[in-house]
Point group: C2
Chain length 288, copies 2
């Protein structure tokens, strides 16, 4: 249980999970237009909450971690945020590690406020935008959260800002160097830091460059599968211990019921299990 | 009334306001530890809402615009967000332009969700983080919002990421160039674009460089006064028409009652009036 390890750093907790389960994360991005027919959509907020809870039930025991997309809930204003709070509570109660995918980025007292709000939900990690520098990151660490800072995103237009050459590396490398520096003093006894990075699985060359400046950062890897990222992207991101990655997938898991027959929860569960096997095997291969 | 100009672009609406009022924005960053003694703090959310409404009443007719800091409300979870929604409604009803200072930054369907949520509050503009490229900006414009993209922030640690040389300019210049490009096709008849930039008033040299790549972008300038920014920072940011800036101040206005006697709303009102006079005079000087 998380509760029994709450005196450990987020990096240590994550490392302990990854000793026992495949390094996968299920992205919970509920969208009203892509819900199973069996869910009543007359109240959209109630519908995405019901769906989210069903996904949690389906993936617990298979995935160590879920990533909750704040935007899907914020779309519905305060009622949506209240639903998100309940979904996070349910995930924590089910012993899942929770990443709040909020991509916040502010400084000073505002960063402190965002951190307090995120920590109060019970989430263990949060995604952040590092463009404002370490002022936008440290308050979240001080609040006890682990952080995944956006370093290299999987979308095409991210290239314009992230890939230009800048000094010895790229702009993404600048952000990565900051992550690496902040993480040095925040490593657990097992080596994994509480300061992580988001690095698209669609960019193997970038992942290798970035691993060099962030040797102990957990890499959250979106873009595997649906967005074209593959085995090369994951392998390039591995740390010197052959780990340090958390591969996240959303659509390919939570929408697995589309165009399939049978119970939708079973489809989601099967997709998660297949994903865990695939990624678990890939990482295990590296140990030999 | 905004409602009578709702068929105009956000850039046009802003320009019309600035023809009649000083280009200032009051930052609404309510903090429980800095409220007037007359406000009951037993319910923190109710207290910051009451304070926020009092600030709105005090600055209406003086400032054309308020900037609502989402973090101050999100700190309190869904209840705080509900209070923020009511405060924004009150500001819109009072005929104030509202900037939602949310600094969101996501892509694809998530950006669409954030944009829908922000537009539903009634806010007219939103602050965004541009690190993810135009994918993270366009959905907000498509939702009818004006955007201020973080280009050069006023905090010291922003330098590490934003100021390194990168091609012909700096990293901030890269983001600025994107803002300039997106803004070209989104100019109102009066020339001001709906794609703006956040540029710290503490960086006059940066402001001049950035104005060159964003000739028609409104610049939202934080950091004037409390953070050490001054007249030079504002002058350097002016466009070729001697306008195009919106100077924002929070603490120096909304906490003006601290260490002063008398009605707190009067103190806030007087501080806003002084600020309007100062900035209004500064911009008017440029016309001659």
């Amino acid at each position: 249980m998380i509760t029994s390890t709450s005196n450990l750093s987020p990096g240590q907790c994550l490392a302990l999970r990854l000793e026992r389960q495949a390094p996968i994360c299920v992205g919970l991005d509920p969208i009203i237009s892509r819900l199973p027919d069996s869910i009543d959509r007359s109240d959209e907020v109630a519908a995405i909450e019901q769906f989210s809870r069903g996904v949690l039930d389906s993936v617990v025991g298979i995935a160590p971690c879920v990533k909750v997309q704040a935007a899907c809930f914020e779309r519905y204003g305060s009622r949506g945020v209240a639903a998100m709070e309940r979904v996070i509570t349910a995930a924590v109660d089910a012993d899942l590690l929770v990443i709040l995918d909020a991509k916040r980025g502010d400084i000073g007292i505002s960063a402190t406020h965002y951190a307090a709000g995120a920590a109060a939900t019970g989430a263990h990690w949060i995604t952040l935008n590092g463009y404002l520098g370490e002022d936008g990151v440290i308050p979240f660490l001080d609040a006890g959260l682990g952080v995944f800072v956006l370093v290299r995103t999987s979308n095409p237009s991210g290239d314009e800002i992230q890939s230009p050459e800048c000094g010895a590396g790229t702009v993404a490398g600048l952000v990565g160097s900051m992550v690496g520096r902040l993480g040095e003093s925040r490593r657990g006894t097992n080596g994994l830091s509480s300061v992580g990075a988001v690095v698209g699985a669609t960019k193997p060359e970038a992942a290798a460059e970035l691993r060099a400046v962030m040797p102990d950062a957990p890499f959250l890897l979106p873009g595997y599968g649906a967005q074209g990222g593959g085995v090369d992207g994951v392998r390039a991101a591995l740390d010197r211990r052959g780990g340090g990655v958390l591969v996240t997938a959303s659509r390919s898991i939570i929408h697995a019921f589309i165009d399939q027959s049978g119970d939708w929860r079973r489809c989601v569960k099967d997709a998660a299990a297949t994903f865990a096997e695939e990624i678990g095997g890939l990482v295990a291969d590296q140990d030999h």
